[in-house]
Symmetry: C2
Subunit: 229 residues, 2 copies
DNA sequence: ACCTGTTAGTGTAAATTCAACACTAACAGG
DNA sequence: CCTGTTAGTGTTGAATTTACACTAACAGGT
């Protein structure tokens, strides 16, 4: 079946910048393209929007098809529509950024992708299309947003130590934070729930595990509380 | 001429939420639709993206065609793509928000629009499509962004009094600010250039006029300065 | 000339928040 | 029991933010 239109229409795709956190590194998930154009080069996962699916759904579907990732945090980033950004024809892409817990997820390459791999955010290979600008914008947005929204917890295991949380901010913001001031601030917010567990298998005093208390956070939000690191 | 595609493609449009500032009110520019669907109801200006123009260019073109506005501040907001948002067929729209100086611009209705009119942001008529959600998001974004980027100056005349500037923030943020603290903060930033003029035609002591000093602002930015109200 | 109404323009003190900084406790492993 | 490593904890000074009220200037009307 073919479709006829009176005017030429751009094709519409979605693409996802997927961030994951390794103990000391912020990583991005890339796929090696299995088809033209840019066959064999690296790109962020994505693909065409189907005619009856919403953009968010398309982004989730493509992400699962190409990398196997499901149920991740996903947020729309920006829409890129420079006329020559795809050499084949006019393609407008709605870019998303996603946050995943590396600990929870196994990644596997699939449809259209030879392989999917995590790359350190400041050691990326050459990328297809304008994907370097998309990643750049996603990284800027993550850095800005992580400071005033509790996004960071999406990157950590459900239970985490304060040390892990601090490290997360240090890695994303790319600067050191003072341990005592950090703990004072974050515990003072009362959005962390202390568990009665401590971390396991460490060769030193084990740190207490905390959980992000989403309910408490939402309640505080309704009272005008403003998260900020 | 017609175009044939193997798969059905969504149509792609751009829409603009245009803000203007009246002395005591934040306004939005709406057009009365001259054609189906929603003929006769109010909508934000916008239209189809042409095959070889970038999204920003399309937004500017549509804005000029429908309202006569040129050279306004314009920034991409969000892309709306719910499958049923347009009753005719699948239409994805890239929404923008724009800031204009009401003092500088005459608005005139044109192509496809019976008329263009300014409405107070908290007294809007019923709107076509999902334009109420688009406006809502634009308004939220303006409120958030005006606090940490010097966007406000786009809404004021080139030369303005501190009183006007304060009123602008009060109207947009919808809360009162302390006059002395406001002046201290804004003058302390050293991003305003004092002119040797004062306002004219007022029945009381005339206030000094200032200009936003974009050069000074950019210089400060490079040095890590962070604007914040 | 002067009275009235209205807004311009200005400083200080208290409260709060932020930044800097170092030691003891706990525990695993050898 | 010794070693190495990280957990966990308060205080002080500096900087920032908030609250708050009076005189000066000027146009317009009498």
């Amino acid at each position: 079946m073919t479709f006829r239109y009176q005017y030429a229409r751009p094709a519409l795709t979605v693409d996802c910048v997927v961030f994951g956190l390794d103990d000391e590194d912020l990583k991005i998930l890339l796929i090696e393209r299995g088809g033209a154009p840019f066959e064999g080069s690296w790109a962020i996962p994505g693909g065409f929007v189907e005619i009856d699916e919403s953009l968010d759904v398309a982004a989730r579907r493509e992400l699962e098809e190409e990398t196997g990732l499901k149920k991740v945090f996903l947020e729309q980033l920006y829409t890129f529509g420079a006329p020559q950004r795809d050499p084949r024809e006019r393609v407008v892409t709605v870019a998303y950024f996603a946050l995943v817990r590396l600990s929870d997820h196994k990644v596997k390459a699939a449809t259209d992708a030879r392989q999917a791999l995590w790359f350190s955010v400041d050691d990326l290979p050459k990328l297809a299309f304008d994907h370097d600008s998309i990643i750049q914008m996603a990284h800027d947005r993550l850095q800005a947003k992580v400071r005033y929204q509790p996004l960071g917890f999406e990157l950590l295991p459900q239970k985490f130590t304060l040390r892990q949380l601090q490290q997360l901010y240090e890695v994303i913001l790319d600067r050191e934070l003072d341990k005592r001031n950090f703990r004072k601030k974050i515990l003072g917010m009362e959005i962390l729930e202390e568990t009665d567990e401590v971390e396991a298998d460490v060769a030193h005093r084990a740190a207490r595990l905390y959980r992000f208390d989403k309910k408490a956070y939402r309640k505080l939000m309704r009272q005008g509380f403003h998260f900020e690191i």
